[in-house]
Each structure stands twice: as C-alpha cells, then as structure tokens.
C-alpha cells in the first residue's frame, strides 16, 4: 500500500501502462506541460513528445485521429480536459468509435480511452461544470468509468487502457487532491464490479464519482441516529453492477440513488428503474433519486451551491425512506 492522491494515481497508471505496452500513447492539448490539471506532469520527459503528444485545439480531429489510430491497434489515451469540451468531438466518439466494432461485423476494434473530467469545480460556470456520464452510458459500444478514489483511479485507468473497446473515463475535477491508500503492484480493476463502501441493513445508497464521498458522510451521520445505510460505489456505469445493487436492496428494502448530475434522465433513473422492475415486492419504500435540477450550473456561489447534493440532503432523504 502507498498513500497517494487521485491525480498521482492516474499519472502512475498511465506511466506504468506506457512502460508495459509501447502501443500506448496519449494525445491532447498542453500535455507536454503536464496537462491542464497536471495529470501528465513529467511524462513527456520519460516517454518523449511522440507518445505524450501536444495537440492543437482541435477536439474533433484529436478524437477522430485517435479512433483511426486505434483501429490499427495502437492504444491512444485522448485527453479532453473537461467533459464540456469533449462535446466538440461527440460524432467521432459516438458515431465512429462506439459503432465500429459491431457495425463492421467485428473486423475492427477501437481500443481508445477518452479522459473527460466532470463535475462542479468552484465557480466554473455553465460550460465547465457538467457531469455528462449518462450521455455515454446511453450509447451501445462504450464503457463508462467514474472513479471516486485514488485506488480506483489507478486500477480503473489501467483496465481502461487494456480494454479493447472505447472507454469514456470520467474523473471528477474536485477529487484531484484527494489522498488515499493505493495497492502496490499491478492492480487492474474489473469493470462492472461495485464497491461496498459501507455495509448497512436499513437502506442502500447507490452512488458514483465524487458523490460517493458525500453519501458516505451522510451515512456516518445516519449511523449516529441508529440508521445503518449501505453505500455502494458503482465505479463503472457501463457495465454496471446490477447484481450487487439488487442483492443489497433485496436485503435493505430501500434504495436511494445519489448523483451530482442532473437527475432528469440521469444514470440514477436507470438504477431506480432496474430496482423497481426487479424488486417490487421486496421494497419497503418507493425508490428515490437525488440529483441536480435541470438547470445549467451558475457562476455565483449562492446559486452554484443550491444545486449541489449535500450530506444533509442525503441524510434527510434517507430518514424519509426509513420512516415509510
């Protein structure tokens, strides 16, 4: 075990995978200087500018070129810096990368990792704050990873780089500095396996990305009141761990989904619907979702804060469920 930050864990994953496999390379704006958040710091010194490649501001071509290069068997890591900017390259990702394997009858694969940091990051406003994970979960052919801890950032990123299908890898901007234990050695995650952050018998809280930490904080408060919440971190939204969620809710009889993203048509809706479809008789309360209202993110802190899901709001929702 080593203690490291979320950002260092990702950097280590990239470095180790690049050492292991000469076909792995990274491309994006300002990568040579370490990337906009420092995720690639120092990597150009070890791997050179052909493998840590500085691109012009041309997201659609960066993505498209990476798809083409991936079709020949190289393994590009595309850095989009903000999931908001990746919208300039959605055609290349959704129409091309996601479809190629199936549409061409299995003749080609697109081993591509697209890093698209998500989330609110104090006062970044409407075009730099979005959490768009549900968009990609909706698209057949894409893997969607949403790590919440340093250990997962390393293990999931390694898995993403080794995956032969395109992976949309969504780190949360507010987690870069988060520290945590990271296992030594070649720790590679398995997609579609949730992590039980905390066990409990009274309700199941399902979450992912930064919201996992808020949910865990709420669960601690609830424990003080005698309510034991089980907290599950999905880690990947596709594939997602239905079995773990269904097994947990079957025991607790109550589901609360917590997401930072807009609740309407968010991934929480998929989780809630799946639970409702499968566990109707076992449910002691209606399924419940917490998420942002369907409003763009504001600049002013007083407005921005209003759309954040707080530990208090989660605890209140949990109390409401347990009472019923």
């Amino acid at each position: 075990m080593a203690v490291m930050t979320y950002i260092d864990a990702s950097r280590q994953a990239v470095a180790e995978e690049m050492r292991r496999d000469p076909m792995v390379w990274a491309v994006g704006e300002d990568l040579g200087r370490g990337g906009v958040f420092g995720q690639y710091k120092g990597l150009v010194d070890e791997f050179g500018p052909d493998r840590i490649s500085d691109a012009p501001i041309s997201e659609s071509c960066i993505m498209g070129a990476a798809v083409g290069a991936a079709m020949t068997g190289t393994r590009p890591i595309v850095e989009m810096r903000f999931s908001d900017f990746a919208l300039c390259a959605v055609d290349e990702l959704v129409n091309q990368a996601a479809k190629a394997r199936y549409m061409f009858g299995g003749q080609t694969r697109v081993p591509l990792v697209v890093r698209e940091p998500i989330g609110m990051w104090r006062s970044s406003a409407a075009q730099h704050s979005q959490s768009l994970e549900a968009w990609y979960a909706h698209i057949p052919g894409l893997v969607v990873a949403v790590p919440s801890t340093p250990a997962d950032n390393r293990a999931l990123l390694k898995a993403a780089i080794r995956c032969d299908d395109p992976v949309v890898f969504m780190e949360h901007k507010n987690l870069w500095a988060l520290g945590g234990d990271v296992p030594d050695g070649d720790d590679v995650a398995e997609f579609g396996k949730a992590r039980a952050v905390r066990e409990g018998k009274d309700l199941t809280i399902v979450s992912w990305s930064a919201a996992v930490h808020t949910a865990t904080e709420a669960a601690t408060t609830l424990a003080g009141e005698g309510i034991e919440a089980e907290v599950l971190d999905l880690r990947t939204l596709w594939p997602w761990d239905k079995d773990a969620v269904l097994a947990s809710v079957e025991r607790t009889g109550r589901l609360l989904v917590v997401q930072e993203a807009v609740s309407v048509a968010g991934f929480g809706a998929e989780v809630a619907a799946t639970v409702a479809e499968n566990l109707h008789p076992a449910l002691k309360a209606p399924v419940k979702r917490l998420g942002a209202p369907r409003i763009p993110i504001s600049y002013a802190p007083v407005l921005e804060d209003q759309v954040r899901i707080t530990a208090d709001a989660i605890a209140a929702a949990a109390r409401g469920l347990v009472k019923t």
Partner: protein, 362 residues
C-alpha cells in the same frame, strides 16, 4: 442593472470616424492575405481619435488591473482571463463600428464589453457574481451579453463563437441592413474545424462578417509555432478567396485603418474579411497561469517597445496635442469609473436564491 457610466461617446465617435466606404485595394485585386496595414498605419487618424482611443484603452487597462487585484483578494472566482496588452485591437475596431453591428468573442471578453459601451459596473458585478451583473451572477467572467450594446457573448468553448458570429452576419444579410458581425477569436481557436466551415459558408453566402483573429502568440501555454502548421493566420481564408491582412494589433491606428477598410468591404456586400491582429497578452492565460512557457524578457520587450497605450501617449505629447496634466486628468477619471465599478461590485447583493429557477424552460 446599474446606471450606465459616463462613457457613452464611443458609438458617437465611432459613427464620426466610420469614414466613407472607399474601395479597398483588396476589393480590386481580390487577392487574399494582403499585408498593407502592417507597419503603415493610416495617417488620417485624428488627434481627437487618438485621445478617444487613449481613454478607451486606459479604461480597459485599469479595469483589468482592478479585476486582477480583486481576483487576488478572493472577490472574483472561477476562470478570469485578462485582456491587458491587447487593448488596441478591440478599441480600434469599435471605432469603425456603427449602431446595429454585433460583437461576439470568447472568454477573454472584458475589453470587448467595455469597448462596446457596456457599463463597467455591470461587468465588474458579474465578475463578483452579484445581482447587478450583466448575467445576474449566473455567468461570471466568461459569460456576459448585452442586447442593447450588440454584444453577443462571452463564450467558454474555444472556437464556439465563430459559427455563431457567422450566423449574426447571416441575420444582417437576411434583414437587408448594412450591419457587420465582428467575430473575434484567438490564434489557438483558429485551429478549430468550425472556423473553416464558417469561412466557407460566409464566403459562399457573402455574409458581412469580419473575422478578427487576435493572435497573441499563445493558446494557453502553447506557442503558435507549436500548434499551427502555418503561422500567418491572415492566409487562412485563402482557399475560400477571403481577403486577409496581418495588422500591427499593438498600434490602434493600424487597427483602425484595417478595420475601416474591412468594414467598407463587408458593408458593400462583398462578403467576409479576415484581420489577423498581431498582439500580445501581458498576463498569464488566466489568473491561475504563472506563464512559465515564455521568458520575462519577451514580455518586458513587448511592454516597453510596443505598449498600445504608451504609443498613443507618446504621439499625443510629441505633437503637443495635449500635455501630461490633461492625460493625468483622463487617468483620474478612468480610475474613478473603475473604482466606482469595483465598489458597486462589492456592495451589490448576491443573487436571490430564487434566481436559480429563472431564465429556464421548466
């Protein structure tokens, strides 16, 4: 919105200086990428215009200095990109604008807004996220708009404003007026695909748009030579037969002369025009950028030898058109406008929480 500051002469003087459309040289030759304006500023820039430009540029400079200070004090948050060094570009261009013209740009937008005649109080209050800000505190530094002043934002996605600016020009043609869209973007943004889709459509449909490329030599930490296969951006419209010029963007006279010519070309119905403004930003890309990718000497040299405000000042003094005292007086007035804006931006209340639910289809 706060009361409009006493800075309303720009449209009036812009109208005066918007000289009679002459047939630009490029119109005859149709040759793209002429460089006639570079280093040969028009001689018909009057001393009144020099004074006007001086005042406008100084307002932007002082406003940005104050914004930088307030950011350092934690009164402004998020992203904040200062325009210091580039003042001559938007000021010179606005001197050829007339009522009804539109301006659109990216996130480095404070200078554009002030030059459009937007109220410094409303801009500063948006920076501090207050209810008197142009976007009621919802947008912040990168996202402001003014229908009244023809300012169409304030956009955070690099290059995103270029096709929108093309559409502003489309609307002018559609309405049959002789207004122009001034569409600003950076050297970095000039590598986005929609720029070329815009060029083609604008030329095909003869849309009245001036693409003003503010080449400050860096897109964040990447110098233009590291991001661009060809670095003379005035040529970027060549394959669409759009005339283009490289302009000394540190000299407001050169900017004005080139803008005048381009505006005449557009208003006469000839379609788009490209002006590549060679300029420089003195500060980092944003408030969080220590700008380690360039030398202190490089910045110093620009400031000392090419500063747009110092150039005007030196000419005015040399021509005895004014004296130090008069210029100091202008500075005092500008500072008081800026101080008033800063004061307002700190005392104006934060948005009411209920504002969250306005301006959105529910």
């Amino acid at each position: 919105m706060a009361a409009r500051a006493k800075s309303g002469t720009r449209r009036a003087s812009a109208a005066k200086s918007g000289s009679k459309p002459k047939s630009p040289a490029a119109a005859k030759s149709r040759a793209p990428a002429k460089k006639s304006s570079r280093g040969s500023p028009a001689t018909d820039f009057s001393q009144d215009q020099e004074l006007e430009a001086y005042r406008e540029m100084l307002l932007i400079r002082r406003f940005e200095e104050k914004a930088g200070q307030m950011y350092g004090m934690g009164l402004i948050g998020g992203f904040c990109h200062l325009y210091i060094g580039q003042e001559a570009v938007v000021v010179g261009m606005q001197m050829v604008a007339k009522d009804g013209d539109q301006v659109i740009t990216g996130y480095r937008d404070h200078g554009h807004m002030l030059a459009c005649g937007m109220d410094p109080k409303g801009v500063m209050a948006e920076l501090t996220g207050r209810r008197g800000g142009y976007s009621k505190g919802k947008g912040g530094s990168m996202h402001m708009f003014s229908v009244e002043k023809g300012f169409f934002g304030g956009h955070g996605i690099v290059g995103g404003q270029v096709s929108l600016g093309t559409g502003l020009a489309f609307a002018n043609k559609y309405r049959g007026n002789d207004n122009i869209s001034f569409t600003y973007f950076g050297d970095g943004a000039s590598n986005q695909g929609q720029v070329y889709e815009s060029f083609n459509m604008a030329k095909l449909w003869k849309l009245p748009v001036i693409y003003v490329i503010e080449n400050n030599k860096y897109g964040m930490g990447t110098s233009i030579s590291r991001s661009s296969a060809t670095t003379d951006l005035s040529h970027r419209g060549a394959s669409f037969d759009i005339p283009g010029e490289q302009v000394d963007g540190m000299d407001v006279r050169a900017v004005h002369a080139a803008g005048d010519k381009a505006a005449a070309w557009c208003r006469e119905g000839n379609g788009p025009y490209i002006l590549e403004m060679l300029t420089y930003r003195y500060r980092g890309h944003s408030m969080s950028d220590p700008a380690k990718y360039r030398s202190k000497e490089e910045v110093q040299k620009m400031r000392q030898e090419h500063d747009p405000i110092e150039q005007v000042k030196a000419r005015l003094l040399e021509a005895h058109a004014t004296d130090e005292d008069a210029l100091k007086d202008i500075d005092r007035k500008v500072r008081s406008i800026v101080n008033e804006a800063a004061e307002f931006a700190q005392t104006d209340p934060e948005p009411d929480p209920s504002e969250l639910w306005t301006d959105i289809l529910r």
